[in-house]
Amino acid sequence: MAEITACSGNLTGLEIADALSKKFAEGVTINSASPRRVYSQVNKEVFLEVCKFMKDELLFDHASLVSGVDRIDRIQAIYHITSYINNCCLMEIVVDLDHEAPEIDSVTPLWEGANYHERETYDMMGIVFKGHPDMRRIFLPDDTKFYPQRKDFKLKEVP
């Protein structure tokens, strides 16, 4: 038999959102929650504590996707984390960052699977992850000067 089975816990997305907003009164906004999806916005200051809480208390054991969005006035880091135990719930964490020097704490010490995703986000978006073990470009050569996913980098116009 398999050693770890999905859905053996029973917290739904609504209960997870409740527990999270109880623990962090300030800095965490739950935008919407349904049994398998939680959408939240988190302040940069409490972000790492929220992640630790999610991993240790609410058993979110899998970092699915780390990406970024350039919103012209700010840069957003987007995290999607999953709990296999609790109903396979998917949680979205949006963190607003400064556009000039985007910096955020790395979650690689918590989830090893976020390692390459953070490197890719650095490569594409220019977000620096503090505490990442190996913060280098991954796709483009090391001497590249631009960050292609930012909106000020324009692609070739073809008529």
Binding site: F139, L140, P141, K156, E157, V158
Partner: protein, 170 residues
């Protein structure tokens, strides 16, 4: 070895034997060249799967002498099957240089012909002919295995028409 080759070459030229030898040997060299085209086993992207399918039991490209080899030293056809990013371009050029002459290049699929659907991407080379001498273009995205085999048959015709042999290279 070079010295003896040169001496033989000089003698052949001086005695007009070279012309006669060329006439005799050329059809033979040409026949063997065009019936043993060994492409490099090098999958770039999507079209590599059709390359694999064409060597499978249904199409069986090996019956035409198209046998994939893994080392560039054993190959005479460089088959480009996929988009070429700026990071892989120097590696491709080096692979081409490593292959012994006579050698040919086949561009398979839209991406290696002209950039294809990645016409505006910042990291894609717009066409393999910007840095390699391409002989045959096989259009399609991806081309079917029949089209790939047809491309190789076109290359056979081209080799036949070129009529090159080791004795003719001046």
């Amino acid at each position: 070895m070079d010295w003896s080759n040169n001496v033989i070459d000089d003698i052949l030229r001086a005695t007009q034997a070279k012309k006669a030898l060329d006439k005799l040997m050329l059809p033979f060299w040409n026949w063997s060249q065009r019936n043993s085209m060994y492409p490099l086993h090098f999958g770039l992207a999507c079209c590599a799967l059709e390359m694999a399918a064409s060597s499978g039991p249904r199409w069986d490209a090996e019956r035409l002498g198209i046998i994939y080899r893994s080392s560039p030293r054993q190959c005479d056809v460089l088959l480009l099957n996929g988009w070429i990013s700026k990071k892989v371009r120097p590696a491709l050029r080096r692979l081409y240089e490593q292959m012994p002459a006579p050698k040919w290049v086949i561009a398979m699929g839209e991406c290696s012909i002209s950039g294809g659907p990645w016409y505006d991407c910042y990291n894609v080379v717009q066409g393999a002919d910007t840095f390699l001498p391409v002989d045959i273009y096989i259009p399609g995205c991806p081309p079917r295995p029949e089209a790939l085999i047809d491309g190789f048959l076109k290359l056979q015709q081209k080799i036949k028409a070129e009529a090159k042999g080791p004795f003719l290279e001046d």
